[in-house]
Symmetry: none
Subunit: 226 residues, 2 copies
């Protein structure tokens, strides 16, 4: 899952980024409104965490323009405690949730997860496909009642494939979802992750099918059309 963090406070910025990365998000961080606005014209995210007090272009303006372009990416805004007025204004402009500083890290993460859930899987914390159930809250994948032991990368890939189950996901899309802007990986790296994940999945009733030249898709074994 790809997340954009727009925040100018140095300490907060670093702390949040590290924490999100650790939780398996691909995180881009930007500290001014102008840059954020520009970035958002051509880069899609799964969720945006937006501080309202920003240099150059206010968080309001960033949000307003994002919505004006027709995007419905979930946005969580961060406001100061006393700033009820602005909070309301933000929600009016199309923010999906807010959090007042100071806040608990765990709460922010929980709310971000909730936003992603709401946008993508119809509100459920769990995605099921075949034998497998992906639990987005604990970030683990279960087969029945036992948890698969997957690495962070494998987990992120499986999450993406399960979200788009039965749809073709291109390597470019995968790279985009697994990596933030400053760490790029090769196409081959994706192939390697797929290979490793396949090994761990081959006892179940699903498979990662290769569509040569286009990408991969998650399919149930029985649904083969030769």
């Amino acid at each position: 899952m790809r997340l954009l963090l727009v925040e100018d406070d140095l300490i907060l910025k670093d702390g949040l980024e590290r924490s999100f990365v650790k939780s398996g998000y691909a995180v881009d961080v930007i500290s001014d409104g102008e840059g954020a606005n520009k970035l958002l014209t051509y880069q899609e995210y799964d969720v945006i965490v937006l501080d309202l007090g920003l240099p150059k272009l206010s968080g309001f303006e960033v949000l307003k323009r994002l919505r004006a372009r027709g995007s419905n990416t979930p946005v969580l805004i961060l406001t100061a405690l006393e700033d009820t007025q602005n909070r309301v204004k933000g929600l009016d402009l199309g923010a999906d949730d807010y959090l007042t500083k100071p806040f608990e890290l765990a709460e922010l993460e929980a709310r971000v997860r909730a936003l992603i859930r709401r946008g993508v899987s119809g509100g459920s914390a769990k995605i099921s496909f075949g034998d497998l159930t992906f639990d987005t809250t604990n970030r683990q994948c279960m087969a029945g009642d036992i948890a698969l032991s997957l690495s962070a990368r494998e987990l992120a890939l499986l999450e993406l494939l399960m979200l788009k189950a039965s749809k073709v996901v291109s390597k470019a899309k995968i790279m985009e979802h697994l990596c933030s802007w400053d760490d790029e990986i090769s196409e081959n790296a994706v192939e390697v992750i797929v290979s490793r994940l396949r090994k761990k999945l081959n006892v179940f009733d699903i498979e990662i099918r290769t569509i040569r030249g286009l990408g991969y898709l998650l399919a149930k074994l029985e649904n083969q059309n030769p």
Copy 2:
């Protein structure tokens, strides 16, 4: 999705066309205002990318006449950087978005996508014909809820045929659509691709009919005139 690109700069024209085609749009390109205006009187598009500086008839005039005919097709105009005045004029005339040169390719594509989403097409980038639904966003063809497993070439051909459903598509047009301009394929190659695609489609209620000497057309099986 069908896109009209009106641009006279040779290099830009080719680059944009290739990029849009690669992203799965059916692209028509025309380089003068008069031709564009004429074309738009009888051909509908899902989105139009319009350069303002054009020979013969200015982009303004093309846009003005399009709106005068009552069309609400989304239009994105391209302007020179310093040309604020014209940009405003364009938006007044009914353009839906603008981009100043030079621009990022990714940004143009994102804005075009946004326009299509926002537009009258209701956001569903899907073409249906008979049993089949072609999902241009995910680039795959569904029969009910199962995805056909088609190769890249077969997919591209089917997309073209479905876009022009019930209309004759010449081999030349097909070759043009399947190949970028430095790799050419023989007419026979097209025949082979048609043959392979037919095999995969013959369980459904549509067929690829051969019109000897002219090309192919996609037709529903019941509509046979014997």
